[in-house]
């Protein structure tokens, strides 16, 4: 158990509404990541953080924003949800930036109708 809690675990919402997903870690890892997982695509990186208030874009960042005001929390926001953002979202952490494994939460299943 990597000490990662994602909330909520499931959410159904409507197109155009704002959505915020939360990732909370207890391991004091420096790096945190948000991925989305879609059939046939594996996991794709949305945004990542390398420290408090330090974030950067990943491969599929359009339509998403993130914030990290504390080491333990990393928030993913969909400002105006679209049906194409229906997916399973995973948070991951890593102690350092390379040659180390990532640790994953159990995901948030988000459906946008």
């Amino acid at each position: 158990d990597a000490g990662i809690t994602q909330s909520p675990r499931h959410k159904v919402t409507e197109t155009g509404t704002p959505v915020t997903l939360r990732c909370h870690q207890t391991e004091n890892h420096r790096y945190m990541y948000w991925y989305r997982q879609d059939p046939g695509h594996g996991l794709r990186l949305i945004h990542y953080s390398y420290g408090v208030k330090d974030t950067d874009k990943g491969e599929v960042s359009d339509g998403y924003s993130v914030s990290r005001s504390k080491t333990e929390d990393f928030l993913l926001t969909l400002e105006s949800a679209t049906s194409s953002q229906t997916s399973v979202y995973f948070c991951a952490t890593r102690v350092g930036d390379s040659n180390q494994p990532q640790h994953f939460g159990d995901g948030t299943r988000l459906s946008i109708l």
């Binding site: 996991l43 991951a92 390379s98 990532q102 994953f104």
Partner: protein, 109 residues
């Protein structure tokens, strides 16, 4: 776009048999990692092999890496029903980790 691509997409074997999954990638890497995902759960790290390593073992797992061919393989020996899961390779370069679409392994009791 995906970096690692696993082959086969699905594999079904009997308990006790060995399972081999392959991963190909396209660009430079610092390391390559393998993860397992059980249905409805997050990914669990299995093994990391650095770009200057050729083979690594962990229990019933054996991973090889051929950087000249940009490929890796994961061998699970003496498989068990509990090994049923999806397996992903991930290439890691600086802070850019790219996952393949995975191999779905089913081990029949």
């Amino acid at each position: 776009s995906q970096q690692g691509e696993e082959d086969p997409q699905a594999l079904s074997i009997q308990e006790g048999e060995n399972a081999t999954m392959n991963c190909s990638y396209k660009t430079s890497i610092n390391n390559l990692q393998w993860y397992r995902q059980n249905s409805g759960r997050g990914l669990v790290h299995l093994i990391l092999i650095r770009s200057n390593e050729r083979e690594k073992h962990s229990g019933r797992l054996r991973v090889t890496l051929d950087t000249s061919k940009k490929s890796s393989s994961l061998l699970i020996t003496a498989s068990r029903a509990a090994d049923t899961a999806s397996y992903f390779c991930a290439t890691d370069y600086v802070n850019d980790m790219r996952f393949g679409a995975g191999t779905r392994l089913t081990v029949k009791p």
